[in-house]
Protein backbone atom coordinates (compact mmCIF):
# COMPACT_ATOMS: atom_id res chain seq x y z
CA UNK A 1 0.00 0.00 0.00
CA UNK A 2 1.56 3.29 -1.09
CA UNK A 3 1.03 6.62 0.58
CA UNK A 4 -1.85 5.93 2.94
CA UNK A 5 -2.11 7.61 6.33
CA UNK A 6 0.96 9.78 5.94
CA UNK A 7 2.37 11.62 8.94
CA UNK A 8 4.18 14.58 7.43
CA UNK A 9 7.44 15.34 9.20
CA UNK A 10 10.75 16.94 8.26
CA UNK A 11 12.02 13.61 6.98
CA UNK A 12 9.02 13.00 4.66
CA UNK A 13 9.68 13.14 0.93
CA UNK A 14 6.23 14.13 -0.34
CA UNK A 15 4.95 14.30 -3.89
CA UNK A 16 1.61 14.67 -5.59
CA UNK A 17 -0.08 11.31 -6.28
CA UNK A 18 -0.85 10.28 -9.85
CA UNK A 19 -4.47 11.34 -9.58
CA UNK A 20 -3.57 14.92 -8.55
CA UNK A 21 -1.98 17.05 -11.26
CA UNK A 22 -0.58 20.52 -10.63
CA UNK A 23 -0.71 22.66 -13.75
CA UNK A 24 -0.94 26.26 -14.86
CA UNK A 25 -4.25 26.87 -16.59
CA UNK A 26 -3.59 29.22 -19.51
CA UNK A 27 -7.27 29.99 -20.08
CA UNK A 28 -7.93 31.19 -16.55
CA UNK A 29 -4.36 32.28 -15.78
CA UNK A 30 -4.28 30.44 -12.46
CA UNK A 31 -2.58 27.39 -11.01
CA UNK A 32 -4.86 24.42 -10.49
CA UNK A 33 -4.67 20.97 -8.97
CA UNK A 34 -6.73 18.50 -10.97
CA UNK A 35 -8.13 15.58 -9.02
CA UNK A 36 -11.07 13.22 -9.47
CA UNK A 37 -14.30 15.23 -9.38
CA UNK A 38 -12.40 18.26 -8.10
CA UNK A 39 -10.43 21.24 -9.31
CA UNK A 40 -8.51 23.00 -6.56
CA UNK A 41 -6.98 26.47 -6.79
CA UNK A 42 -3.81 26.56 -4.69
CA UNK A 43 -2.54 29.95 -3.50
CA UNK A 44 0.94 31.19 -4.45
CA UNK A 45 2.63 29.73 -1.40
CA UNK A 46 0.99 26.35 -1.85
CA UNK A 47 2.11 26.30 -5.50
CA UNK A 48 5.66 27.11 -4.52
CA UNK A 49 5.71 24.37 -1.88
CA UNK A 50 4.09 21.79 -4.15
CA UNK A 51 6.52 22.50 -6.97
CA UNK A 52 9.28 21.48 -4.57
CA UNK A 53 7.47 18.25 -3.63
CA UNK A 54 9.16 15.95 -6.11
CA UNK A 55 9.51 12.82 -4.00
CA UNK A 56 13.26 13.46 -3.81
CA UNK A 57 13.51 16.49 -1.50
CA UNK A 58 12.66 16.04 2.14
CA UNK A 59 10.38 18.49 3.92
CA UNK A 60 13.49 19.69 5.82
CA UNK A 61 15.21 20.48 2.50
CA UNK A 62 12.31 22.47 1.17
CA UNK A 63 11.85 24.37 4.44
CA UNK A 64 15.55 25.30 4.32
CA UNK A 65 15.13 26.51 0.77
CA UNK A 66 12.05 28.64 1.56
CA UNK A 67 13.60 30.05 4.76
CA UNK A 68 16.66 31.15 2.80
CA UNK A 69 14.61 32.60 -0.06
CA UNK A 70 12.29 34.64 2.15
CA UNK A 71 14.82 35.33 4.93
CA UNK A 72 12.16 34.12 7.35
CA UNK A 73 12.44 32.20 10.63
CA UNK A 74 12.89 28.51 9.78
CA UNK A 75 10.67 27.32 12.62
CA UNK A 76 7.66 29.35 11.49
CA UNK A 77 8.01 28.15 7.90
CA UNK A 78 8.38 24.53 9.01
CA UNK A 79 5.18 24.73 11.07
CA UNK A 80 3.19 26.26 8.20
CA UNK A 81 4.54 23.92 5.52
CA UNK A 82 3.99 20.77 7.58
CA UNK A 83 0.45 21.87 8.49
CA UNK A 84 -0.37 22.56 4.85
CA UNK A 85 1.08 19.28 3.61
CA UNK A 86 -0.57 17.27 6.39
CA UNK A 87 -3.92 18.76 5.47
CA UNK A 88 -3.38 17.82 1.83
CA UNK A 89 -2.29 14.31 2.84
CA UNK A 90 -5.38 13.84 5.00
CA UNK A 91 -7.53 14.73 2.00
CA UNK A 92 -5.69 12.22 -0.18
CA UNK A 93 -3.88 14.79 -2.34
CA UNK A 94 -0.36 13.89 -1.23
CA UNK A 95 1.68 10.73 -1.35
CA UNK A 96 5.14 9.85 -0.23
CA UNK A 97 8.04 8.53 -2.25
CA UNK A 98 8.38 4.83 -1.56
CA UNK A 99 11.34 3.80 0.54
CA UNK A 100 14.20 2.88 -1.73
CA UNK A 101 15.38 -0.61 -1.07
CA UNK A 102 19.18 -0.68 -0.94
Amino acid sequence: MAGRNINVSETSRPKLPRHAKLKFDETRQVWVILAPERVLAPDEIAVEVLQLCDGERSVADLVDQLAAKYAAPREAIATDVIAMLQDLADKGFLSEAREKTP
Binding site: I6, H19, E37
Partner: protein
Protein backbone atom coordinates in the same frame (compact mmCIF):
# COMPACT_ATOMS: atom_id res chain seq x y z
CA UNK B 1 -34.84 13.99 11.31
CA UNK B 2 -31.20 14.27 12.29
CA UNK B 3 -29.06 17.39 11.92
CA UNK B 4 -26.96 15.85 9.19
CA UNK B 5 -29.86 16.18 6.78
CA UNK B 6 -29.65 19.96 6.91
CA UNK B 7 -26.70 19.74 4.56
CA UNK B 8 -26.67 18.37 1.05
CA UNK B 9 -23.22 16.92 1.68
CA UNK B 10 -21.17 16.27 4.77
CA UNK B 11 -17.91 17.09 3.00
CA UNK B 12 -15.98 19.76 4.89
CA UNK B 13 -14.89 22.98 3.23
CA UNK B 14 -11.20 23.15 2.33
CA UNK B 15 -9.11 24.96 4.92
CA UNK B 16 -5.65 24.29 3.56
CA UNK B 17 -4.79 27.38 1.54
CA UNK B 18 -6.40 25.56 -1.36
CA UNK B 19 -9.89 26.62 -2.21
CA UNK B 20 -12.15 24.90 -4.64
CA UNK B 21 -11.86 27.00 -7.78
CA UNK B 22 -15.55 27.62 -8.18
CA UNK B 23 -15.85 29.31 -4.81
CA UNK B 24 -13.76 32.19 -6.08
CA UNK B 25 -15.36 32.52 -9.44
CA UNK B 26 -19.08 31.95 -9.13
CA UNK B 27 -21.37 34.91 -9.23
CA UNK B 28 -25.11 35.05 -9.56
CA UNK B 29 -25.42 36.56 -12.98
CA UNK B 30 -22.36 35.40 -14.86
CA UNK B 31 -21.07 31.94 -15.63
CA UNK B 32 -17.57 30.74 -15.96
CA UNK B 33 -15.45 28.61 -18.16
CA UNK B 34 -16.60 25.00 -17.85
CA UNK B 35 -14.32 22.89 -15.66
CA UNK B 36 -15.29 19.40 -16.66
CA UNK B 37 -17.24 17.47 -19.25
CA UNK B 38 -18.96 14.11 -18.92
CA UNK B 39 -18.46 12.29 -22.22
CA UNK B 40 -21.05 9.54 -22.57
CA UNK B 41 -19.29 7.54 -25.26
CA UNK B 42 -22.09 5.00 -25.65
CA UNK B 43 -25.34 3.91 -24.06
CA UNK B 44 -24.46 0.25 -24.65
CA UNK B 45 -23.84 -1.55 -21.35
CA UNK B 46 -23.77 -5.19 -20.21
CA UNK B 47 -25.35 -4.15 -16.89
CA UNK B 48 -29.04 -3.37 -16.42
CA UNK B 49 -29.03 -1.34 -13.18
CA UNK B 50 -32.55 -0.14 -12.36
CA UNK B 51 -31.23 3.31 -11.31
CA UNK B 52 -29.18 3.95 -14.45
CA UNK B 53 -28.59 7.67 -15.01
CA UNK B 54 -28.99 7.35 -18.78
CA UNK B 55 -32.22 8.58 -20.34
CA UNK B 56 -35.06 6.09 -20.76
CA UNK B 57 -34.77 6.73 -24.51
CA UNK B 58 -31.26 5.38 -25.12
CA UNK B 59 -29.04 6.38 -28.08
CA UNK B 60 -28.52 3.43 -30.45
CA UNK B 61 -25.01 2.28 -31.43
CA UNK B 62 -25.48 3.52 -34.99
CA UNK B 63 -25.96 7.12 -33.84
CA UNK B 64 -22.78 7.27 -31.74
CA UNK B 65 -20.10 9.85 -32.52
CA UNK B 66 -17.15 8.38 -34.40
CA UNK B 67 -13.58 8.29 -33.14
CA UNK B 68 -12.68 11.34 -35.22
CA UNK B 69 -15.75 13.24 -34.05
CA UNK B 70 -14.82 12.62 -30.39
CA UNK B 71 -11.23 13.69 -31.05
CA UNK B 72 -12.41 16.93 -32.62
CA UNK B 73 -14.74 17.46 -29.66
CA UNK B 74 -11.86 17.04 -27.19
CA UNK B 75 -9.67 19.49 -29.05
CA UNK B 76 -12.51 22.02 -28.95
CA UNK B 77 -13.05 21.41 -25.23
CA UNK B 78 -9.45 22.36 -24.46
CA UNK B 79 -9.79 25.54 -26.52
CA UNK B 80 -12.87 26.38 -24.46
CA UNK B 81 -10.88 25.93 -21.22
CA UNK B 82 -12.24 22.58 -20.05
CA UNK B 83 -9.77 20.85 -17.71
CA UNK B 84 -11.22 17.41 -17.10
CA UNK B 85 -12.99 14.77 -19.13
CA UNK B 86 -14.90 11.91 -17.58
CA UNK B 87 -15.34 9.00 -20.01
CA UNK B 88 -18.64 7.45 -19.14
CA UNK B 89 -21.57 5.67 -20.72
CA UNK B 90 -23.34 3.30 -20.83
CA UNK B 91 -20.18 1.35 -20.51
CA UNK B 92 -17.28 3.33 -22.07
CA UNK B 93 -15.09 0.24 -22.41
CA UNK B 94 -17.66 -1.12 -24.89
CA UNK B 95 -16.07 1.36 -27.34
CA UNK B 96 -13.23 -0.32 -29.21
CA UNK B 97 -11.47 3.05 -29.63
CA UNK B 98 -11.31 3.92 -25.92
CA UNK B 99 -7.51 3.71 -25.67
CA UNK B 100 -7.18 5.97 -28.71
CA UNK B 101 -9.61 8.47 -27.19
CA UNK B 102 -7.80 8.51 -23.83
CA UNK B 103 -4.51 8.99 -25.66
CA UNK B 104 -5.94 11.95 -27.57
CA UNK B 105 -7.38 13.51 -24.39
CA UNK B 106 -3.99 13.19 -22.77
CA UNK B 107 -2.23 14.63 -25.83
CA UNK B 108 -4.42 17.74 -25.80
CA UNK B 109 -3.94 18.18 -22.04
CA UNK B 110 -7.21 16.98 -20.48
CA UNK B 111 -7.29 15.23 -17.09
CA UNK B 112 -8.86 11.86 -17.84
CA UNK B 113 -11.17 9.84 -15.64
CA UNK B 114 -12.75 6.51 -16.60
CA UNK B 115 -16.18 5.85 -15.10
CA UNK B 116 -16.77 2.16 -15.65
CA UNK B 117 -18.68 -0.93 -14.53
CA UNK B 118 -15.35 -2.74 -15.14
CA UNK B 119 -16.92 -6.04 -16.23
CA UNK B 120 -15.46 -5.81 -19.76
CA UNK B 121 -11.94 -4.90 -18.60
CA UNK B 122 -8.92 -7.14 -18.89
CA UNK B 123 -5.59 -6.43 -17.26
CA UNK B 124 -4.08 -5.84 -20.73
CA UNK B 125 -6.78 -3.30 -21.57
CA UNK B 126 -6.23 -1.47 -18.31
CA UNK B 127 -2.49 -1.42 -18.87
CA UNK B 128 -3.01 0.05 -22.34
CA UNK B 129 -5.28 2.74 -20.85
CA UNK B 130 -2.65 3.53 -18.19
CA UNK B 131 0.00 3.80 -20.90
CA UNK B 132 -2.28 6.14 -22.84
CA UNK B 133 -2.21 8.48 -19.84
CA UNK B 134 -5.40 7.63 -17.95
CA UNK B 135 -5.31 9.59 -14.67
CA UNK B 136 -7.99 7.88 -12.62
CA UNK B 137 -10.41 4.93 -12.60
CA UNK B 138 -13.85 4.91 -11.00
CA UNK B 139 -15.55 1.53 -10.67
CA UNK B 140 -19.20 1.14 -9.74
CA UNK B 141 -20.18 -1.50 -7.19
CA UNK B 142 -23.75 -2.64 -6.57
CA UNK B 143 -23.08 -4.29 -3.20
CA UNK B 144 -20.28 -5.97 -1.24
CA UNK B 145 -21.04 -9.57 -2.29
CA UNK B 146 -22.45 -11.28 -5.42
CA UNK B 147 -26.00 -12.10 -4.28
CA UNK B 148 -27.19 -8.51 -3.90
CA UNK B 149 -24.69 -6.98 -6.34
CA UNK B 150 -25.40 -9.30 -9.30
CA UNK B 151 -29.15 -8.96 -8.75
CA UNK B 152 -29.00 -5.15 -8.83
CA UNK B 153 -26.67 -5.16 -11.86
CA UNK B 154 -28.84 -7.71 -13.62
CA UNK B 155 -25.69 -9.59 -14.65
CA UNK B 156 -24.27 -12.85 -13.32
CA UNK B 157 -20.65 -12.84 -12.04
CA UNK B 158 -20.45 -9.08 -12.40
CA UNK B 159 -19.35 -8.52 -8.80
CA UNK B 160 -16.49 -10.98 -9.07
CA UNK B 161 -15.26 -9.30 -12.28
CA UNK B 162 -15.40 -5.87 -10.65
CA UNK B 163 -13.32 -7.04 -7.68
CA UNK B 164 -10.75 -8.47 -10.07
CA UNK B 165 -10.63 -5.28 -12.17
CA UNK B 166 -10.27 -3.13 -9.03
CA UNK B 167 -7.26 -5.24 -7.99
CA UNK B 168 -5.68 -4.85 -11.44
CA UNK B 169 -6.26 -1.10 -11.23
CA UNK B 170 -4.21 -0.84 -8.04
CA UNK B 171 -1.58 -3.32 -9.28
CA UNK B 172 -1.04 -0.93 -12.19
CA UNK B 173 -0.75 1.89 -9.65
CA UNK B 174 -3.79 3.66 -11.10
CA UNK B 175 -5.78 5.67 -8.54
CA UNK B 176 -9.16 4.10 -7.75
CA UNK B 177 -12.52 5.46 -6.69
CA UNK B 178 -15.18 2.99 -5.64
CA UNK B 179 -18.60 4.32 -6.55
CA UNK B 180 -21.39 2.75 -4.53
CA UNK B 181 -24.92 3.69 -5.51
CA UNK B 182 -27.09 3.13 -2.47
CA UNK B 183 -30.81 2.41 -2.11
CA UNK B 184 -33.22 0.41 0.02
CA UNK B 185 -32.05 -2.96 -1.38
CA UNK B 186 -28.37 -2.55 -0.48
CA UNK B 187 -28.06 0.08 2.28
CA UNK B 188 -27.70 -2.70 4.87
CA UNK B 189 -24.34 -3.51 3.24
CA UNK B 190 -22.86 -0.02 3.62
CA UNK B 191 -20.39 -0.86 6.41
CA UNK B 192 -19.17 -3.85 4.42
CA UNK B 193 -18.90 -1.77 1.24
CA UNK B 194 -16.71 0.75 3.09
CA UNK B 195 -14.50 -2.10 4.30
CA UNK B 196 -14.41 -3.53 0.75
CA UNK B 197 -13.14 -0.15 -0.54
CA UNK B 198 -10.40 -0.16 2.13
CA UNK B 199 -9.46 -3.76 1.29
CA UNK B 200 -9.29 -2.88 -2.43
CA UNK B 201 -6.86 -0.05 -1.51
CA UNK B 202 -9.18 2.52 -3.10
CA UNK B 203 -8.24 6.18 -2.73
CA UNK B 204 -11.79 7.38 -2.60
CA UNK B 205 -15.31 6.11 -2.02
CA UNK B 206 -18.46 7.76 -3.28
CA UNK B 207 -21.50 6.80 -1.25
CA UNK B 208 -24.15 8.09 -3.59
CA UNK B 209 -27.79 7.70 -2.79
CA UNK B 210 -29.85 7.16 -5.93
CA UNK B 211 -31.02 10.31 -7.68
CA UNK B 212 -34.52 9.79 -8.98
CA UNK B 213 -34.69 10.65 -12.67
CA UNK B 214 -35.19 8.48 -15.74
CA UNK B 215 -34.78 4.79 -14.93
CA UNK B 216 -34.50 5.43 -11.20
CA UNK B 217 -37.79 7.32 -11.23
CA UNK B 218 -39.45 4.28 -12.82
CA UNK B 219 -37.91 2.14 -10.04
CA UNK B 220 -38.45 4.56 -7.20
CA UNK B 221 -40.80 2.33 -5.20
CA UNK B 222 -38.25 -0.50 -5.23
CA UNK B 223 -35.29 1.74 -4.43
CA UNK B 224 -36.45 4.42 -1.98
CA UNK B 225 -34.76 3.99 1.41
CA UNK B 226 -36.56 4.41 4.71
CA UNK B 227 -35.80 7.42 6.87
CA UNK B 228 -34.34 5.03 9.46
CA UNK B 229 -31.93 3.69 6.81
CA UNK B 230 -30.85 7.21 5.93
CA UNK B 231 -30.22 8.16 9.54
CA UNK B 232 -28.17 4.99 10.01
CA UNK B 233 -26.31 5.71 6.75
CA UNK B 234 -25.36 9.21 7.84
CA UNK B 235 -24.08 7.84 11.15
CA UNK B 236 -22.01 5.11 9.42
CA UNK B 237 -20.53 7.55 6.90
CA UNK B 238 -19.58 10.12 9.53
CA UNK B 239 -17.94 7.48 11.71
CA UNK B 240 -16.02 6.06 8.73
CA UNK B 241 -14.93 9.52 7.51
CA UNK B 242 -13.36 10.19 10.92
CA UNK B 243 -11.86 6.70 11.31
CA UNK B 244 -10.43 6.51 7.76
CA UNK B 245 -9.04 10.04 7.50
CA UNK B 246 -5.92 9.91 5.34
CA UNK B 247 -6.72 6.32 4.27
CA UNK B 248 -9.94 6.59 2.29
CA UNK B 249 -11.68 9.81 1.29
CA UNK B 250 -15.46 9.39 1.45
CA UNK B 251 -17.88 11.62 -0.42
CA UNK B 252 -21.51 11.31 0.57
CA UNK B 253 -24.61 12.29 -1.36
CA UNK B 254 -27.87 12.23 0.63
CA UNK B 255 -31.14 11.36 -1.10
CA UNK B 256 -32.99 14.49 -2.17
CA UNK B 257 -36.37 13.34 -0.93
CA UNK B 258 -35.16 13.32 2.67
CA UNK B 259 -33.08 16.49 2.43
CA UNK B 260 -34.04 19.86 3.86
CA UNK B 261 -32.08 21.95 1.38
CA UNK B 262 -31.72 21.09 -2.30
CA UNK B 263 -28.37 20.15 -3.79
CA UNK B 264 -26.45 22.65 -5.92
CA UNK B 265 -27.10 20.44 -8.89
CA UNK B 266 -24.20 20.42 -11.41
CA UNK B 267 -22.84 23.46 -9.51
CA UNK B 268 -25.72 25.40 -11.05
CA UNK B 269 -27.24 24.97 -14.51
CA UNK B 270 -24.71 25.80 -17.24
CA UNK B 271 -22.12 27.16 -14.82
CA UNK B 272 -19.25 24.65 -14.62
CA UNK B 273 -20.10 21.37 -16.29
CA UNK B 274 -21.80 19.87 -19.26
CA UNK B 275 -22.48 16.52 -20.77
CA UNK B 276 -22.12 15.19 -24.29
CA UNK B 277 -24.45 12.33 -25.18
CA UNK B 278 -23.35 9.36 -27.33
CA UNK B 279 -24.99 10.96 -30.38
CA UNK B 280 -23.34 14.32 -29.68
CA UNK B 281 -26.02 16.38 -27.92
CA UNK B 282 -24.51 19.02 -25.64
CA UNK B 283 -26.51 18.90 -22.41
CA UNK B 284 -26.39 20.95 -19.18
CA UNK B 285 -26.55 17.63 -17.30
CA UNK B 286 -26.91 13.94 -18.09
CA UNK B 287 -30.63 13.95 -17.29
CA UNK B 288 -31.49 17.20 -19.09
CA UNK B 289 -33.19 15.41 -21.98
CA UNK B 290 -35.88 14.30 -19.52
CA UNK B 291 -37.10 17.93 -19.55
CA UNK B 292 -39.46 18.04 -22.50
CA UNK B 293 -39.72 21.29 -24.39
CA UNK B 294 -36.01 22.15 -24.29
CA UNK B 295 -34.05 21.90 -27.54
CA UNK B 296 -30.43 20.80 -27.28
CA UNK B 297 -27.73 21.55 -29.84
CA UNK B 298 -25.42 18.86 -31.18
CA UNK B 299 -21.67 18.87 -31.79
CA UNK B 300 -22.74 17.79 -35.29
CA UNK B 301 -24.51 21.14 -35.81
CA UNK B 302 -22.87 24.14 -37.45
CA UNK B 303 -22.19 25.65 -34.02
CA UNK B 304 -18.97 25.32 -32.06
CA UNK B 305 -19.15 23.85 -28.57
CA UNK B 306 -18.10 27.26 -27.21
CA UNK B 307 -21.07 28.87 -29.00
CA UNK B 308 -23.45 26.24 -27.62
CA UNK B 309 -22.11 26.76 -24.08
CA UNK B 310 -22.38 30.53 -24.28
CA UNK B 311 -25.40 31.16 -26.48
CA UNK B 312 -27.72 28.20 -26.80
CA UNK B 313 -31.20 28.63 -25.42
CA UNK B 314 -31.07 25.44 -23.34
CA UNK B 315 -27.94 26.56 -21.45
CA UNK B 316 -29.23 30.07 -20.87
CA UNK B 317 -32.76 29.03 -19.89
CA UNK B 318 -31.93 28.30 -16.20
CA UNK B 319 -28.58 30.02 -15.86
CA UNK B 320 -27.94 32.34 -12.92
CA UNK B 321 -30.92 33.57 -10.88
CA UNK B 322 -32.92 35.70 -13.31
CA UNK B 323 -35.28 32.86 -14.30
CA UNK B 324 -36.29 32.10 -10.73
CA UNK B 325 -39.85 32.36 -9.44
CA UNK B 326 -40.65 32.65 -5.74
CA UNK B 327 -39.72 31.24 -3.26
CA UNK B 328 -36.26 31.10 -4.91
CA UNK B 329 -36.30 34.66 -6.25
CA UNK B 330 -36.01 36.38 -2.87
CA UNK B 331 -34.31 33.48 -1.07
CA UNK B 332 -31.01 34.14 0.69
CA UNK B 333 -29.73 30.76 -0.57
CA UNK B 334 -30.47 31.39 -4.27
CA UNK B 335 -26.79 31.72 -5.14
CA UNK B 336 -25.85 28.83 -2.86
CA UNK B 337 -28.03 26.15 -4.46
CA UNK B 338 -29.42 27.89 -7.60
CA UNK B 339 -32.84 26.49 -6.78
CA UNK B 340 -31.67 22.85 -6.76
CA UNK B 341 -32.17 20.46 -9.65
CA UNK B 342 -34.14 21.42 -12.79
CA UNK B 343 -34.71 17.81 -13.83
CA UNK B 344 -36.14 16.93 -10.45
CA UNK B 345 -38.35 20.02 -10.47
CA UNK B 346 -39.65 18.89 -13.86
CA UNK B 347 -40.11 15.25 -12.83
CA UNK B 348 -42.01 16.10 -9.65
CA UNK B 349 -43.88 19.30 -10.53
CA UNK B 350 -44.12 19.20 -14.32
CA UNK B 351 -42.27 22.53 -14.63
CA UNK B 352 -38.48 22.68 -14.67
CA UNK B 353 -38.72 26.35 -13.62
CA UNK B 354 -40.19 25.53 -10.21
CA UNK B 355 -38.24 25.25 -6.97
CA UNK B 356 -36.79 21.76 -6.53
CA UNK B 357 -39.20 20.00 -4.14
CA UNK B 358 -36.15 18.73 -2.21
CA UNK B 359 -36.19 22.21 -0.64
CA UNK B 360 -38.35 22.71 2.47
CA UNK B 361 -39.41 26.07 1.01
CA UNK B 362 -41.06 24.33 -1.95
CA UNK B 363 -44.83 23.97 -1.54
CA UNK B 364 -44.33 20.37 -2.78
CA UNK B 365 -41.75 19.42 -0.15
CA UNK B 366 -44.03 17.87 2.44
CA UNK B 367 -45.79 15.86 -0.26
CA UNK B 368 -42.63 14.30 -1.66
CA UNK B 369 -41.30 13.57 1.81
CA UNK B 370 -44.52 11.65 2.55
CA UNK B 371 -44.32 9.98 -0.86
CA UNK B 372 -40.81 8.75 -0.06
CA UNK B 373 -41.93 7.40 3.31
CA UNK B 374 -44.92 5.65 1.75
CA UNK B 375 -42.95 4.09 -1.10
CA UNK B 376 -40.16 2.99 1.24
CA UNK B 377 -42.71 1.16 3.38
CA UNK B 378 -44.72 -0.18 0.43
CA UNK B 379 -42.86 -3.47 0.00
CA UNK B 380 -42.54 -3.27 -3.77
CA UNK B 381 -39.07 -4.73 -4.34
CA UNK B 382 -39.38 -5.66 -8.00
CA UNK B 383 -36.95 -3.97 -10.39
CA UNK B 384 -37.53 -2.75 -13.92
CA UNK B 385 -34.17 -3.50 -15.52
CA UNK B 386 -32.64 -0.93 -17.84
CA UNK B 387 -32.27 -1.92 -21.49
CA UNK B 388 -32.85 -0.74 -25.06
CA UNK B 389 -36.30 -2.38 -25.12
CA UNK B 390 -37.75 0.12 -22.65
CA UNK B 391 -37.04 -2.05 -19.60
CA UNK B 392 -37.72 -5.60 -18.45
CA UNK B 393 -39.47 -6.44 -15.19
CA UNK B 394 -37.57 -8.64 -12.78
CA UNK B 395 -38.97 -12.15 -12.53
CA UNK B 396 -39.04 -14.35 -9.45
CA UNK B 397 -35.84 -16.35 -9.07
CA UNK B 398 -34.35 -15.00 -12.27
CA UNK B 399 -33.28 -11.46 -11.29
CA UNK B 400 -32.65 -10.58 -14.94
CA UNK B 401 -29.14 -12.02 -14.51
Amino acid sequence: MSDILTDGKTTAAPNDGLAVLEQHRSTATSYGIPLAVLAELTHRCPLQCPYCSNPVELDRAGSELTTDEWKKVMTELVELGVLQIHFSGGEPTARKDLVELVQHANDVGLYTNLITSAVLLTKEKLAALADAGLCHVQISFQGNEPVVADRVAGLKNSHEKKIQAAKWTRELDLPLTVNAVMHRQNLHQLSDIIQMAVDLDADRLEVANVQYYGWALKNRAALMPTIEQIEETSRIVEEAQARLKGVLAIDYVVPDYYALRPKKCMGGWGRQFFNISPAGKVLPCHAAESITGLQFESVRSNHSIAWIWQNSEAFNRYRGTGWMPEPCKSCEFREIDYGGCRCQAFALTGDAGNTDPACTLSPMHEKIFKLAETEAAGGNNRFLYRNFAGGTLETEGDHGA
